[in-house]
């Protein structure tokens, strides 16, 4: 549904996006992760034909975006909630889009209800909106043309916790009905809660991508006992390798059952036994976030 192949964008000597490829399929939510300045927005603008790529190409519904006859009916776009004329009311902003997309004007009211913008707010000018309200308006605009795909850049910015929860539900529901969702974020936790697939980029390059479960698991089991020394001994006896984790816990490269049996055999009292968090992914993400946005990483 959304296909990105070797997209590259250079500004002079600086490479903002470097050979990025991924695809988003119907029925899934793809989280596009990366620190600020990693190239997420540039990639999304290239998908939408707003920024000409230096190399590579992207298609939406099998065609380059600019060749879609009426793109708003195919894919809903929200690239920047603040990019609206401040002197127009929220309702008028939607009404204009409805006129362009040739959807009945009754849909404007439906969508205002859907994104929880009361009519008092819809009558206000967008310049007076909070960022959260602009995100809701932008989402309504993206949904207006009954698209089969959504491309959203940092849609959770400015939403309160309740709003974030609501948006997750909305996107999940959209994907469960067969829609394709691509959303970006600079927060791993935020995307983790809703995405099926993750594409992580740093300094313009894809550093990891795949199914969320695969990327986040594979880190073994995290286990914590009343007596850590006894637990370590018990695991060694069972032939399981363990490495120390935070909070006095151990990270064991084995199934839960094997760890549980080893502890039971040795009579060790467990306080905690759960899938270990994907430290690899999280550490990678943190290392991307810390300082690697400096230009020397991109200069080649």
């Amino acid at each position: 549904m959304i296909e990105v192949a070797h997209l590259t964008k250079r500004y002079g000597a600086q490479t903002a996006v470097d050979d990025v490829s991924f695809r988003c399929t119907p029925g899934t939510v793809t989280g596009f992760l990366g620190p600020n300045g990693a190239g997420k927005s540039t990639t999304m603008r290239m998908i939408c034909g707003l920024t000409p790529p230096t190399g590579g190409h992207a298609t939406v519904a099998g065609r380059p975006y600019r060749q879609l006859p009426n793109p708003g009916r195919e894919v809903g776009i929200l690239l920047d909630a603040s990019a609206q004329h401040p002197g127009r009311t929220g309702r008028e902003t939607l009404a204009l889009a409805a006129q362009l997309l040739r959807v009945p004007s009754s849909r404007v009211g439906e969508l205002l209800t859907c994104v929880d913008l009361p009519s008092s707010a819809a009558r206000k000018r967008v310049g007076d909106y909070s960022l959260g309200m602009r995100q809701r308006l932008g989402l309504a605009q993206a949904l207006l043309g009954e698209p089969r795909a959504l491309i959203l850049d940092e849609p959770a910015n400015g939403l309160d916790p309740e709003g974030i929860f609501w948006m997750r539900g909305l996107l999940r529901d959209f994907a469960d009905r067969g829609g394709t969702v691509l959303l970006s974020s600079h927060l791993l936790r935020e995307v983790e809660a809703v995405a099926d697939r993750l594409v992580m980029i740093g300094n313009g390059r894809v550093v990891a991508q795949g199914a969320k479960d695969e990327l986040l698991s594979g880190a073994g089991m995290r286990v914590r006992a009343l007596d850590p020394a006894a637990l370590r001994a018990a695991l060694a006896t069972a032939g399981l390798s363990a490495s120390p984790a935070d909070g006095g816990a151990l990270l064991v490269d084995a199934e839960a059952e094997a760890v549980g049996r080893a502890a039971a055999t040795a009579g060790v009292v467990l306080l905690e036994l759960q899938p270990g968090r994907a430290r690899g992914l999280e550490e990678m993400f943190l290392s991307l976030t810390n300082g690697t946005t400096a230009p020397e990483g991109t200069a080649r």
């Binding site: 119907p26 603008r45 939408c48 034909g49 707003l50 920024t51 000409p52 975006y65 600019r66 879609l68 006859p69 009426n70 793109p71 708003g72 009916r73 195919e74 776009i77 690239l79 920047d80 603040s82 990019a83 609206q84 004329h85 401040p86 002197g87 127009r88 008028e92 204009l96 889009a97 006129q99 362009l100 997309l101 040739r102 959807v103 439906e110 969508l111 209800t113 859907c114 000018r125 605009q141 949904l143 043309g145 009954e146 698209p147 089969r148 795909a149 539900g169 909305l170 529901d173 959209f174 009905r177 067969g178 829609g179």
Partner: protein, 258 residues
């Protein structure tokens, strides 16, 4: 919670809704966008008020005896001066407010949007002209001289052309500069600069006759225009409207939308 179903309606409906946005619809949307913002609505209100004020003052002045053609010129002036600002903003406000992110996401063919903006500006000029004609006609019983309904076809056409030229000038400036403040300031300052420079530098007074659009377009409000006058108007239109518009179209087509 009612969420948009990604599923499609019947294929027939889907096909119809996926046809490209026709140019007339795009033009209608652009025309609406000129009037539905706070600044746009105010500007239109001011133009209407000024036009009514001009008509009223002229018809109440005791010794003023106008015919239709004579009264039409002054009535058109407020629109001719201020509507170009709307033309400028129609283009530039999208870039400065970054609304292009939405506009070009919905209609990726930028030349179509640009064409719609030019057509919308023309439509605006025509609508304003119609309003001016009505206002003038309404005032004639009070302001009219011995032959109040005297309106030569040429005068009717030229006053309308005067308005069109000015509004297009605004769009052209907006498109080549893509910056509201710069384009509006330049639009107002340029005629002043011409007249000052033309007086100070004698060498410029000759070219000014051909290049100062405020002078050459003013010829349209004179009773008679010679062939030379038309040539002067054509020259300044080419320099200040056609050339910037062409350059502006190239800029709009190439500029990265951020």
């Amino acid at each position: 919670m009612t969420v948009t179903a990604p599923a499609r309606d019947t294929p027939a409906v889907a096909t119809a809704s996926h046809s490209p946005v026709p140019l007339w619809r795009l033009t209608a949307v652009e025309l609406r966008k000129m009037a539905d913002t706070r600044s746009g609505a105010w500007l239109l209100a001011v133009v209407a008020l000024l036009a009514v004020a001009v008509v009223t003052v002229l018809s109440l002045t005791a010794d003023a005896r106008f015919d239709f053609g004579g009264l039409l010129g002054p009535t058109v002036l407020p629109a001719a001066v201020l509507l170009p600002v709307l033309g400028v903003l129609s283009v530039t406000s999208e870039w400065s407010q970054r609304a292009t992110l939405t506009t070009y996401a919905l209609v990726p063919r930028r030349m179509r949007v640009a064409a719609a903006k030019v057509l919308a500006a023309l439509a605006l000029a025509v609508l304003a002209y119609a309003a001016c004609l009505l206002a003038t006609a309404a005032a004639l019983p009070f302001a009219g001289g011995p032959d109040p309904w005297h309106l030569p076809a040429a005068a009717l056409g030229k006053a309308g052309l005067f308005l069109v030229v000015n509004v297009l000038l605004g769009v052209a400036f907006g498109m080549v500069l893509l910056n509201s403040a710069l384009a509006i300031v330049l639009y107002f300052v340029l005629p002043i600069a011409w007249s000052i420079l033309g007086e100070m530098v004698t060498a410029l007074s000759g070219p000014a006759q051909w290049l100062d659009l405020s002078v050459t377009s003013g010829l349209l409000l004179e009773p008679v225009m010679t062939g030379r006058d038309w040539a002067r108007l054509g020259t300044s239109v080419a320099v200040w409207i056609v050339a910037p518009l062409a350059l502006g179209l190239i800029r709009v087509a190439r500029r990265e939308v951020k």
